[in-house]
Amino acid sequence: MEKETKAFQRVYTKLFQLTKATVSLHAKGIGYDELAIVDGRLAQVVKIMEDLVTLQIFGGTEGIATNAEVIFAGKAPTLKVGDDLAGRFFNAYGEPIEGGEILGEEREIGGPSVNPVRRKQPSEFIPTGIAGIDLNNALVTGQKIPFFADPDQPYNQVMAMVALRAKADKIILAGMGLTRDDYLYFKNVFDNAGALDRIVGFINTTEDPPVERLLVPDMALTAAEYFAVEKNEKVLVLLTDMTLYSDALSIVSNRMDQIPSKDSMPGSLYSDLARLYEKAVQFPDGGSITQIAVTTLSGGDITHAVPDNTGYITEGQLFLRKDSDIGKVIVDPFRSLSRLKQLVIGKKTREDHPQVMNAAVRLYADAANAKTKQENGFDLTDYDKRSLDFAKEYSEKLLAIDVNIETDEMLETAYELFSTYFKPEEVGIKQQFIDKYWKNNKN
């Protein structure tokens, strides 16, 4: 059943096995990871046993017949990279959505890792104006960090806002299972901000087959590497939504009869996600890839395999939560963490930043305890009451995502709140900072 067409292209027309996501056939001389077109749909080799080759069909196998034409491409999936990418949106296969051609050099996606000794330690602060991020969880170029959010939270809006304020040379949007509305929203905001020429999008919407999503992050990161390595640009990659990406991984692995791990995710989920997230990097020549991702949670459960593995891979997480006391979405200071913040806070920002940040969060924790007490019907001490008042104002003035101020102003605001509600020894920061920055309006 084999005939040679173009050089390297082999064509077969007899399928041996069909499942919802894969087909198998007898074929020879096929390379692992190689691409093929099955009945016009893109597919990739995922298993070879003797002459039995199993292909994963990105668009699903609906309607594929046993005599479907299979053409092997003799290479792994590729993307054409070049300056031509800027300002355009592509589908999961790297084809321009609005048609047309791309001029550029063909690159295999999912390429090798950066040698760790060729990396530079991230050290550039990315201010966003959002105090819940800048004050408590400062971001740094070369970092990878997801928003952990329930599906009803405005994570895509926050992400777009952060992206525009981040002063990146390129913003690469990797949309996986994006609703069409959100896709158009992104396009719109970037357009309105006059930033469209800095944007590259790789988009899989809910209208597209889910398995196609598996190509999206690799496409986006291949483009990111082009701009960061060859053009020394600061690239920001937005990955939304990685939970939907993981769902696609589980579809494929379950179809291939792999033993599922926790939450029916593949046992290799950690490695699969790490391979993508570790593409975040600061290069010595100034180029960098920063990743901001979204991991949607179900019912705030972070022990689910996807957020759990993500938390173990990324450099922190930004936890969005609605604060019912102030009726706004805040960046939760307890569950959020930027692990690279210590590389910049107190260094690129004012010296007392770390201490102020920690003190405020500690006092906020005291308020949380007081709140539990209150809910259990106990009397509150004077300190409890003060901490509750502090917490409310802290939430409103600093944690809410609609805050947009400079970092120094965030610190000043914190001292203002401290001195309104507490004595210096209750706040517990270094004496030298108290002497220098404490607001003597009270106490």
Binding site: Y270, S271, K373, D379
Partner: protein
């Protein structure tokens, strides 16, 4: 002649090879893929089929591709030049690799074969020697690097000749040894050793009897680890495992630190590359990097090499231990290694154990931890490997196979608590759940009381008791309400908070607080216990917290100042003054009582 085979199947990095000749479990082989050779290890043999795990991406590999089996297991090269290097999990020198990106099939030499080392003979002609005996030494950084009789040598040998002191490259013969049968063997400065086999070139392995000072109060004071001991740090993501290990690698009182970054973030090793060459070793005054070796197999590097990386690190540690050095071995995270085993076991469709991990996971972990230890060498000297691994339990739930298997073998348990991390009480080691079995060793107790203070261990147990009673009081207060309990409950709770804030919590990023000497730990422990021993009188429960917060603040300021500096003393005075308020308050009452009586 090496055995040759051909690829017959590929599933990700599991490749099946049909061979004619012999192959062995754990044998190394190379897949000839185009111009590159991809390294792999045999993990199962069935009939003429060898199942190999490939240490690289298998992209493009085809059925029929030739595979060459090398006749040896995965080995490391041991010799001067290891120290301060950054290796990958297979001991390739990462600095020697070209380009920004790692290239598949590029393998680099771990040592500097051209470099000459200044050799000084330690053995002389006609000496009787065994595997591990010191023949001579060279300077490696500041360490007197011993050139030893290769560990593969069996039985006794006689030194036939040994080179004069002078400069030699690692491959030059430096001695000739004659075995019992009269056969001569040339010895160079380098040797090879299979990583999965423990190096046993020691005479005896006693129970650990000293502690390894780490500078971290919650460890040293509350749950010390023995020199040559084992410990592990389980904790959910973000609870501080890596920060704690980095802090250990900076401050622990070891001659050498070997860090296996196993399946974790690249930026974390970059942090070490960047900071360690600048940071001073608080003990030797040299740069930290001079005593550190990194085995970096980060999460985006080939999965199969994760397993290799921890063994590579352990073997290098054993090599230096045989030189009589005090080695600290850290692995972050052993869970990633276990996951790599799981991925492979699943691909081979083996019968899975709990959570899909291989059935023999416990045995694998136990064998690995057993390689640590304090040893007496053939010449009577001693050396040690203290091993501390992190564990990353899925969902933060400690009832999972890797945590449970590790708990069976590691003697120190440093459980990081999410609640403590959330409230930024760092390091987030849970003071109540964690333990050190070494505190049950009479020889350790005796050592501690002799070296730190005669009452040291009594004080430590007292502090533990206060923490426990503080927790109980806290629970009672939560159940019954602030005014539903006697004021005494509040005092008890705050006494435990004092220990928490002044001893347990430690700022890893503060230049002074990051590390605390045992002397200083003793001093501070005594301060907190002094408060714990005092009786306090408060009008109302509302006065307890604010008062204790002032004491805490004073003690914290002491922690932030140089030991015994003016600032330190100033803060101590402040501490005294606060305590005096209560003493005088008590006295005034006494006086009035007396006056009344008279």
């Amino acid at each position: 002649m090496n055995t040759i085979g051909n690829v017959t199947g590929i599933i990700a990095n599991l490749v099946i090879v049909e061979t004619q000749g012999t192959t062995a479990q754990n044998e190394i082989c190379y897949i000839k893929h185009g111009d590159t050779r991809l390294m792999a290890e045999v993990i199962k043999v069935v009939g003429n089929k060898s199942y190999i795990q490939v240490f690289e991406s298998t992209r493009g590999v085809k059925v029929g591709t030739e595979v060459e089996f090398m006749g040896h297991m995965l080995e490391v090269t041991l010799g001067p030049g290891i120290l301060s290097k950054n290796f990958d999990g297979l001991q390739n020198d990462l600095h020697k690799m070209e380009g920004v990106f790692l290239k598949r099939g590029e393998y680099t030499h771990p040592l500097e074969m051209e470099q000459k080392y200044d050799f000084k003979a330690l053995a002389k002609k006609d000496d009787k020697v065994v595997a591990g005996s010191w023949l001579g030494e060279v300077k490696e950084n500041w360490i007197p690097h011993k050139i030893m009789v290769p560990f593969t040598f069996k039985g006794e040998y006689t030194v036939k000749s040994i080179n004069k002191d002078g400069e030699y490259t690692p491959e030059e013969t430096i001695a000739v040894l004659t075995d019992r049968e009269g056969k001569d063997h040339e010895v160079t400065m380098t040797q090879k050793w299979p990583v999965k086999v423990p190096i046993k070139a020691y005479k005896d392995k006693p129970r650990p009897f000293k502690i390894l000072e780490t500078g971290i109060r919650v460890m040293d004071t509350l749950n010390p680890i023995a020199e040559g001991g084992t410990g592990f740090i389980p904790g959910p993501f973000g609870s501080g495992k890596t920060v704690l290990q980095h802090n250990l690698s900076k401050n622990a009182e070891a001659d050498l630190v070997i860090i296996a970054a196993c399946g974790e973030r690249a930026n974390e090793v970059v942090e070490i590359f960047t900071e360690f060459p600048e940071l001073d070793d608080p003990r030797s005054g040299r740069k930290l990097m001079e005593r550190t070796t990194i085995i970096a197999n980060t999460s985006n590097m080939p999965v199969a090499a994760r397993e290799a990386s921890v063994y590579t690190a352990m073997t290098i540690a054993e090599y230096y231990r045989a030189m009589g050095l005090k080695v600290l071995l850290l692995a972050d995270s052993t869970s990633r290694w276990a996951q790599a085993l799981r991925e492979m076991s699943n691909r081979m469709e083996e019968l899975p154990g709990p959570d899909g991990f291989p059935m023999d996971l416990s045995a694998i972990i136990a064998n690995f931890y057993a390689r640590a230890g304090y040893v007496y060498l053939p010449n009577g000297e001693s050396g040690s490997i203290t091993f501390i691994g992190t564990v990353s339990p899925a969902g933060g739930n400690l009832k999972e196979p890797v945590t449970e298997s590790t708990k069976k073998v590691a003697r120190c348990f440093y459980a990081l608590s999410q609640a403590r991390a959330d409230s930024k009480r760092y390091p987030a080691i849970d003071p109540i759940d964690s333990y050190s079995k070494y505190l049950e060793y009479p020889e350790i107790v005796e050592y501690l009381n002799k070296t730190i203070h005669e009452n040291w261990t009594d004080n430590v147990f007292k502090a533990k008791d206060i923490l426990l009673r503080g927790k109980e009081s806290y629970e009672q207060i939560n159940i019954l309400g602030d005014d539903g309990v006697p004021i005494d409950y509040h005092v008890r709770y705050w006494k435990s908070e004092l220990i928490d804030f002044a001893i347990l919590q430690q700022d890893a990023f503060d230049a002074i607080d990051a590390s605390s000497s045992l002397e200083r730990q003793n001093y501070m422990l005594q301060k907190t216990l002094e408060v714990a021993d005092m009786d306090f009188e408060f009008e109302s429960f509302e006065d307890v917290g604010p008062y204790f917060k002032r004491i805490i603040n004073a003690l914290k300021q002491m922690n932030f100042s140089d030991y015994e500096s003016d600032e330190f003393k100033q803060n101590e005075k402040e501490f005294r003054n606060i305590l005096k308020e209560q003493e005088t308050a008590g006295k005034e009452e006494e006086v009035t009582a007396e006056e009344k009586a008279s």
